[in-house]
């Protein structure tokens, strides 16, 4: 296999595995903040007990997140050295900012969150929990900013070096193979880079996806305890917190999905056309609910809703959506291939399309799961409101609780599918319409090197994943501490506890 494919597979594998954990840290971070806030506010020891249990789950996900995250920090240099040289002036600062503003905050206050229960006062502990949660969010901000710049580069210009002097290249300059190694992208405007056209949309989308991951983990484990009729008070209260966070996140995610898709339409038309397999430009474009793309005949088979894509894109069922045969534009291609005939241009155009079937399927997996989770959360809210959710003897309730137990997989799969859509849909570019993925590799790293490290990571990560699942299962089986044991705390903490009457 060639080095490009292997380097992409390796990066995809290591980043996808890593991405199981940060969304859980972000989402559980929010859940922990909510639980500790309720504990401080009401003085109900049950919430202290909950915060302690979920902190232990948090610690497990956090440790693996950190361990696998270090790999990512260096993989740009190891696998994508040409890319790193080309964009270091811009991309590096986002990564460094992530280290300084996010990682230190997270890991520093994590010490208090995990080990500070009896060392500091309850308010300082709550503050530390908030800081860990902020840190996790800051980290998301900077990494999504960096990735969004690759999707929609802004605030930069190209620069080359002539006789040791930096020379600014005009915006219309087209990068050629000969330029690599001498031309680089350099920053013009830091804030234009940070707030590039897609970063805010995508950041919100990613963070809400992470909240859903955390919330559905809590919902799932709580539903499991309800089914087993264990730790009932704990499970009911945790379920409610999970449902609150989950409902907010899922509802907002629908809006965010709409914004994000419209952003893709505006900024990355090729990706947008690939999401729905739109080859020909046409009016009244349908949206496929479920289906498959045949890239040879350039058609999509499946269940379609006529005009829906036009409506969602332009709020008009008869609007025209640009198909892949008009993307990229003739002007774009002529600038790169000035001597090509119109027939050749048509052929070349295809090499600028992302892999349509893969983009289409990952996108539809994400959308379908998103809708399914919305339905699940609405039913859960209805059952909670009508008092049926906790009636663990009813068959209907038990069936639905099993759905909730499995729902933890939903956000995980959707988050992964979303990233695969975003990254595959950007191909063949590593930096959109600027640098191709095939040009971005490390020149000195051979396919064998990458294969060797890929095999190593496969074994290591498989082992980590098995141990993670095993320890998580054990933690769930063990459950929260007994409330009485948990109450052995310093007087400053005990002072928070108020009786039910006092709370009322």
């Amino acid at each position: 296999m060639d080095a490009e494919i292997l380097a992409r597979v390796q990066f995809a594998f290591t980043v996808a595995f890593h991405y199981i954990y940060p969304p859980l840290s972000i989402g559980l971070g929010i859940v922990l903040v909510v639980m500790e806030a309720i504990w401080l506010k009401t003085g109900n020891p049950l919430y202290h007990n909950m915060a302690r249990f979920w902190t232990r789950v948090f610690a497990l996900t956090f440790a693996i997140g950190v361990a696998t995250g270090i790999v990512m920090e260096f993989e740009f240099g190891t696998n994508w050295a040409t890319y790193s040289r080309f964009v270091g002036d811009i991309f590096g600062s986002a990564l460094a900012a992530e280290g300084i503003f996010a990682f230190f905050l997270e890991s520093g206050f994590l010490a208090i969150l995990l080990f500070g229960w009896n060392k500091v006062g309850p308010k300082l502990h709550f503050f530390a929990t908030c800081m860990v949660c902020f840190g996790a969010h800051f980290s998301a901000i900077w990494i999504v900013v960096a990735n969004s710049w690759m999707q929609t580069p802004a605030g930069y210009h190209l620069e080359t070096t002539v006789n040791g002097q930096a020379v600014r290249l005009p915006p219309e300059h087209v990068l050629s193979a000969a330029d690599l190694g001498t031309v680089r992208a350099v920053i013009d405007d830091f804030w234009a880079m940070v707030f590039n056209p897609s970063s805010v949309d995508r950041l919100i989308h990613v963070v809400l996806g992470a909240w859903m991951a955390g919330a559905f983990l809590v919902i799932s484990i709580s539903a499991f305890y309800l089914l087993r009729k264990r730790h009932l008070d704990f499970a009911k209260a945790s379920m409610k917190v999970g449902l609150i966070v989950g409902t907010v996140a899922t509802l907002l995610q629908m809006l965010s999905g709409d914004f994000t898709a419209k952003g893709v339409l505006k900024n990355q038309p090729a990706k947008f056309a690939a999401l729905e397999g739109v080859y020909q430009t046409e009016a009244r474009t349908p949206m496929t609910v479920i289906g498959w793309v045949d890239p040879v005949s350039e058609t999509v088979q499946g269940l379609k809703i006529p005009g829906l894509l036009s409506f969602l894109s332009y709020e008009d069922v008869n609007a025209t959506v640009t198909g892949l045969h008009n993307i990229p534009s003739d002007d774009f291609l002529k600038a790169r291939y000035p001597n090509a005939s119109p027939e050749e241009i048509t052929k070349i155009r295809r090499s600028y399309w992302p892999p349509v079937p893969a983009t289409f399927q990952f996108y539809h997996i994400m959308i379908s799961i998103g809708v399914a989770l919305l339905v699940i959360i609405i039913i859960a809210l209805f059952m909670l409101w009508s008092g049926r959710l906790f009636k663990t003897d009813s068959k209907l309730t038990r069936g639905f609780l099993w759905v909730l137990v499995l729902s933890v997989l939903g956000p995980q799969i959707a988050n992964q599918a979303g990233w695969f859509t975003a990254e595959i849909g950007r191909q063949p570019w590593i930096v959109y319409e600027l640098l191709k993925t095939s040009e971005a590799l490390s020149k000195v790293v051979t396919a064998n090197h990458i294969l060797a490290s890929l095999i190593m990571f496969t074994f290591v990560y498989l082992l980590l994943f098995l141990v993670f699942i095993f320890l998580l299962t054990r933690k769930i089986q063990h459950g929260p501490d007994h409330l009485e044991e948990d109450l052995e705390m310093p007087d400053s903490w005990k002072a928070i506890i108020r009786t039910k009457e006092a709370r009322a």
Binding site: I70, G77, G88, D89, G92, S93, A96, I100, F104, A111
Partner: protein, 338 residues
Amino acid sequence: MDLNIVWYILVGVLLTGYAVLDGFDLGVGTLHLFVKKDEHRRLLLNSIGPVWDGNEVWLVTGGGALFAAFPEAYATVFSGLYLAFMLLLCALIFRAVAIEFRSKEPWGWWRKLWDTAFSLGSFVSALLIGVAMGNMVIGLPLTPDHEYAGTFLSLLNPYALVVGITTVLLFVMHGAIYLAMKNDGELHDIIVGWIPRLIGFFITAYVVLNMLTLVYVPHVLKTVQSRPWILAIVLFGVLIVMNIPREIHKGRRFNAFLSSCLGMIAMMATFGATSFPYMVYSNPNPENSLTIYNAASTEKTLGIMLIIALIGVPIVLAYTACIYWIFRGKTRLTGHSY
């Protein structure tokens, strides 16, 4: 002083912070298997428990700062030393998760497995960091395009291996002193018993290393001749390391640890002062070297990054100090411990 020099120093500060802080973690890890009782092993883990994670962030941030300020050096070093870094990452992963996993189950085989992972991971990390440093001192063979022209095996040259072993011994000494500071009772006495020997090992290796450097790395010798003030830093380092046994003898554990930290800072400063202005020295063909100028980002980015650093670093230092303060005192095992 231009921004390139400022960033040379700042990246150096971050990597020195990493060496000083994660250095004791890696040292504690390397010593882990030499401590036999389960309770003692738990004390070892919990001595670094609240802080190891934050310590590792210095490496991540150092890497990020290197990428941002000197992308050419970042790209050349990490792609050139590909397999070595993959091994280092693997070792760091095992060591990190082993801390979290180890005490979760009471079974003998489980604890043995993760004890070994933790200890070997720490040892290999320290060794590879040292080997990488050693190669940076000798210089890497670079092409005119600043690409690495050597192989994986050429990284494992005798000089680099000596630096690797010296680094392991340095971290082990540093870690033992940290443990002596953080513990009392039986474990404390065991560790304190080891310290004189560990200091002896390190000083021997350090002297051998310096002699080898003068003989086998002529460009370093030349640099030192033209910058004789570097010898003052070396001398300070040697004196401060010699101070460690004295402090230990007088029972001043904290001062001993502080001396060890200062000794490491002096060694990193020596390294930085002899390397300057090279980010990656090319050997042979020094004209292909990466310097703080031809490897750097634009002045604009260095300026923006400096603002980020000036806002971020004081805040980081402040709360890192607070956290070390909150977790001061002797390590005790409780329900929250590893």
